[in-house]
Symmetry: C2
Subunit: 345 residues, 2 copies
């Protein structure tokens, strides 16, 4: 590196994106929303097209020593569909591009595509394209998902208002704990050098499933619609709740209070944190890969939100000057910082 050059890790992913895209302006009427939300929004009619894309790289996002290829194919599709649901849209198509090094065979790729196929069937989306190439090292997957939504139904990250309620679906931290568990068993296996070594996941199946086979929360979107709830802001929890709360706060120009005792955590997650001597709330706030939906709703819909089976209230939106804070069980207010997953660290 030359003296006047900058390491990417000093900016991080979001800082880098902000810097390199600052000179880009939109010129087409059909570009409704560009960079900065879960999906881009494009199109000329009332029905808009949603576009999102995600990379999954071997050695960065997944480790094939414990991730089965079928699960990987499934997950690669699902994490993109999650972004379409996070706009309150319906995913319709995906493209799947692969870079494949020499150690992979036709059978390996067929197994990966079996997972892609199952995800497409399950979520009702069509595989419509992609690109397939050799790669120098490892496997890489680049998926683009295409969805649709009526313009007046689309929910951005920028619509949260002071006094809105903050909700999150499912529970948090389990996928991260699943990763810790898989990593621990892999190390034990390597140390024992025993070909017959069987990892022990008894009683921890939920953690493994959350890591290896996450689901996109179509059911949350459906429940919201059924109850007549109208979210003001929404995004999916991929990097961790802390990071996502900061995105919504920044883009909506608001603050928030989230209550520690309201953060949804599964029993297996709590046990695993204890076993690994990790801070449970830190794992739940920053673990990432939950693919739950974080959304805000008007205070007037409190009654409706309390009827939801797929999501719960975790806090409230405030004026921006109050900052974004976690309120602990002993009533301390701790400023939320993004400690979520960063590929450049």
């Amino acid at each position: 590196m030359k003296p006047n050059e900058t390491e990417i890790s000093t900016l991080g992913e979001f800082g880098l994106i902000e810097k390199i895209t600052q000179n880009f302006n939109s010129r087409n009427d059909s570009t409704i929303r560009g960079i900065g939300d879960d999906c881009a929004v494009i199109g000329q009619g009332e029905l808009k097209t949603l576009i999102t894309t995600d990379l999954l790289l071997e050695g960065i996002h997944f480790d094939l020593r414990y991730v089965p290829l079928k699960h990987l194919g499934y997950k690669a599709v699902v994490v993109n569909l999650s972004d379409v649901y996070a706009m309150n849209g319906t995913p319709r198509q995906v493209t799947v591009s692969l870079g494949i090094s020499k150690r992979f065979t036709v059978e390996h790729i067929a197994e990966l595509y079996e997972g892609v196929h199952i995800a497409c069937e399950h979520y009702g989306v069509d595989l419509v394209g992609g690109d397939t190439s050799a790669s120098v090292t490892g496997l890489l997957i680049s998926v683009t998902a295409i969805g649709e939504a009526r313009e007046d139904k689309i929910v951005y990250r920028s619509g949260a208002k002071d006094t809105d309620l903050i909700c999150v679906s499912g529970d948090l931290g389990a996928a991260y704990m699943g990763l810790q568990l898989l990593e621990r068993e892999r190390q034990v296996s390597a140390e024992q050098q025993d070909a017959d070594f069987e990892p022990d996941f008894a009683g921890k199946e939920y953690l493994i499933e959350r890591q290896l086979k996450p689901e996109a929360r179509r059911d949350v979107i459906e429940e919201i619609a059924r109850l007549g709830i109208t979210p003001t802001a929404m995004m999916d929890v991929s990097d961790g709740l802390s990071s996502e709360l900061l995105h919504i706060a920044k883009q909506s120009k608001v603050g928030c209070r989230v209550y520690e005792d309201r953060i949804p955590i599964d029993y297996q997650t709590a046990l695993m944190a204890e076993e690994l001597n990790m801070n449970l709330v830190t794992a739940a706030m920053n673990g990432g890969e939950d693919y739950e939906l974080l959304f805000t709703v008007p205070l007037a819909q409190h009654e409706l939100v309390s009827q939801m089976k797929t999501a719960r209230l975790i806090g409230r939106v405030t004026k921006p000057e109050l900052g974004t804070c976690l309120v602990t069980r002993d009533d301390n207010e701790i400023p939320i910082r993004a400690q979520g997953w960063n590929a450049f660290e």
Copy 2:
């Protein structure tokens, strides 16, 4: 590899795609065309959305020892826009995803995005998203282009009919010769181990430009529209004319005759082939990366086609049983085989 497993190179890219996607069926009304053309075609109204995606991987598709990052960013966008024009569509948006290894700095990525920016400005498209990640080794770029076209204007690969005329824009083989030249100068430079070595590209600038800074043929689409020509089949020449002719023949269920003396070849391409002792027609037929447009038109439009400044007639479509052949200068008919670029070889 286990005994019952298959190396990917035995199937090649198209064989692999055919095998792994055979179980996929479309279920959404909005999926008009999936895998198998330059773009997928989706949408519910008269105005359709076109989607295409391409991977560019370091060490496979480009060599940063002689490809400037700005050119690479430009090319990564352009090769995708070329696929939108090849459907007779208008590109409107792109997403650009990057995998970046540790040797790249913020300044490197800014340079790459300068090229992306120039391409977006030049072709009037908006950057609307992407994903940015660390990678274990090298640089990877995954671009998705989104375009639009009126349904009745879209040209597929499958519409060529017996007696149609075959046309190609620009000239062929120059990008391939540019690559040979860049590779030769790199080797000379490495052998001389002279830091001040300056490659000699005098009189060969066109070849270098075709390799490093290809353009998508928007002007061809515009001329076709202006003259009232209605192509029956079209695709862009990325893997080489031979490979593309076989795609159109297969998908349109036709044969063809292409005339050697009609293949458009630039003077610099011819000189370079002589200098490198390579067969010129082979280079023009199989070189790849030309990003020209190959299209067929009804015989009745012969007069209109002859007025085109951006494209010329190179052959005619025949009944399928006549096969796909190149007619040499001495009137021999040689069956065309795909010898174009294959990343898995």
